[in-house]
Symmetry: C2
């Protein structure tokens, strides 16, 4: 288990956390689509070329799942995350094609403690995923619950 | 390829389309999490039991991807879908645990033609996924583009 580096208190509004990058292969696109989203444009180069997407393209749910891994590897694994209640919105802006390399960032847009859950705060992020040309392929917002660094009683009193 | 049974015109507000059901196995939960969301509660029964989720539980992105397949098998494969621009919101309401069987429905909440894309309409759905106890585990809304049945010129004039 990684050491926890980021607690609620570290998620200041405006702070940016880099996502890990991920290479999207044709094999991975087809494997994901075969299991979860077997629409033709996600299963073959020919059908992708014939669609408005312009080539073999990842299911939007595949891109979302890849984003989760990029977030985990980029910073979430080193945070005090207690999970998320959901997605506020998620937009698929451009096709993700076989051979693309994705990267991106999570930006803190709001952080507040929860009266209902002592010791936990809710941090809202804007997530942006880009391809190798710097085009945003997916963006969205979601809140993640984060433990505070220490209960108030353990925080040393400062002068 | 399945025959197209549902075009834009068939998505009347309030109409309900059943999702196919899906059994969630421990193996599938662990396989998905190992690839996309390797948080401990998605990787072992022990870590799941120690978490607020209460057992080995599916990543929210796994549930979302399973929902996509349940929608495809339930009705989307027989529709004139041209894909979706995104998710308006998605809430993970309850843990999805190993052994659960999921089912659910998509309900049309709005349908309108697009001035910018002749021959295409946008249909907004409320999607609800339930477990075998009838508890909603995930719900959300998303718009899907659907081709109209026939261009106006091909529609026979009616009395």
């Amino acid at each position: 288990m990684s050491a926890i580096e980021f607690h609620f208190e570290d998620f200041e509004t405006g702070r940016v956390f880099a996502l890990a990058s991920a290479k999207v292969t044709a094999e991975a696109i087809i494997a994901f689509a075969s299991e979860f989203d077997p629409q033709p444009m996600h299963l073959s180069e020919e059908a992708g070329k014939a669609s408005i997407l312009g080539g073999l393209s990842a299911s939007g749910w595949h891109t979302a799942s890849l984003f989760m891994r990029m977030m985990y590897d980029g910073w979430l694994s080193r945070s005090s995350s207690e999970g998320s209640p959901g997605i506020e919105y998620m937009e698929w802006k451009k096709p993700v094609l076989a051979g693309d390399t994705l990267s991106g960032r999570s930006t803190v847009i709001e952080a507040r403690t929860l009266r209902s859950k002592p010791g936990i705060g809710l941090v809202k992020f804007l997530h942006e995923v880009e391809n190798q040309r710097g085009e945003v392929v997916m963006r969205g917002e979601n809140p993640i619950m984060m433990r505070l660094r220490a209960p108030a009683s353990e925080v040393p009193a400062c002068g």
